[in-house]
Symmetry: C2
Subunit: 164 residues, 2 copies
C-alpha cells in the first residue's frame, strides 16, 4: 500500500493564551495547504482514507484535504497526536483490510512523521528527514510482513516544489 505522511499547515505561534492543541492554521497556512491539496487533486491523487491527529491544526489540514475531494473518508486517531508512537497505529493498520493499491494519508506532526518514515525505511530513527509544514512523505509499504525497515520512500517534498 501507499502511505502518505502529511504535516499540518502553518499554524498560530505558541503562546500562553492558547493551549497547544487548539492552535489554528493561519490564513497563509490555510491558503498554502489548499494550494497543495489542489495540486495533488490535479495530478490525480486520491486517498482511500485520511487519518488525522486530534489537534486543531491537523484536523483543519485534514478538512481542507477532504473539502478539496482528496478523500471521502476522514477519521481522527489519538495515535497521531504528538505523544503518539508508531507501533500504536501500525497495530491499527494491521487490523484493516487493505489492498496493494490502497492509499492512506496520515496528518500529523514533526518530529514524529520524519522519525516514523525513517523507522519504516531504515529501521531506526534519525534526524535526517526534513519535513516542512504542509509537506508530504510518500512510502510504499510491503504487501506482507513487517513494515519497519522494509518500506521504500518515493516522495518527500515541501510545498515549494509542488506549487509553480
Amino acid at each position: 500500500m501507499e502511505l502518505y505522511l502529511i504535516r499540518h499547515g502553518i499554524a498560530q505561534e505558541r503562546n500562553l493564551a492558547i493551549k497547544d492543541e487548539e492552535r489554528s492554521l493561519t490564513k497563509v497556512g490555510q491558503d498554502k495547504t489548499t494550494a497543495v491539496a489542489k495540486h495533488l487533486y490535479d495530478i490525480g491523487m486520491r486517498f482511500d482514507l485520511i487519518l488525522t491527529s486530534p489537534l486543531v491544526r491537523s484536523r483543519q489540514t485534514a478538512e481542507i484535504l477532504t473539502e478539496m475531494q482528496l478523500s471521502s473518508q476522514l477519521q481522527v486517531s489519538t495515535d497521531l497526536a504528538p505523544q503518539g508512537n508508531i507501533q500504536a497505529w501500525l497495530n491499527w493498520l494491521e487490523q484493516q483490510q487493505y489492498l496493494p493499491n490502497t492509499k492512506l494519508a496520515l496528518i500529523g506532526h514533526q518530529p514524529n512523521l520524519g522519525a516514523w518514515a525513517s523507522m519504516l525505511v531504515w529501521g531506526e530513527v534519525t534526524e535526517g528527514i526534513i519535513l516542512k509544514k504542509a509537506g508530504i512523505i510518500g512510502l510504499n509499504l510491503p504487501t506482507t510482513g513487517i513494515a519497519l525497515g522494509r518500506s521504500q520512500m518515493f516522495l518527500l517534498t515541501p510545498p515549494k516544489f509542488l506549487l509553480g
Copy 2:
C-alpha cells in the same frame, strides 16, 4: 550546501545495436525532462554548477537543464558514471570552494544516486529510496566535517508530483 541528485530522463531501451553509454533520451524523455526543468526554473531554482555523468543520456539531461537556464556551468565527471563511487566525487567536492548557500546538481544513474543519498543521510546503503527517471533528491550537506551520515534530505520526487 544544497546537493541535488538528478536521474537522467527516459532513454532508449537497452539493445545489442547500441552501446549502453550511447543510449539517448527518447522524445518523451526529452519532453518530460524539459517540463521538470521549466518547473524548477519557475520556482526559482538555480544551480551554481551542474556535474554530469559522461553517458549520453545523462549529458543530454544536463544539457536540457542548462538550456533551460538552471545553471551557466556544466562539467562532465567520470565519477558519476555507473561504475563511479561516492568517495571519488566527495574527494573532488572537498577541494572545491563552496559556501553554505552553494547549490550543486549531479546528473547520474540508479542505483547509485539513491545509494549515495542513503549513505549521506543514514551512513549506509539501502534499497529504500525510489528515484524515478528525471526525478530529484535534495540534500543539505553539513558546512563542516564529514558529509556521510550527517546530511539531511529535504526533497525526493518523481516528475509526476512536480508537473501539474
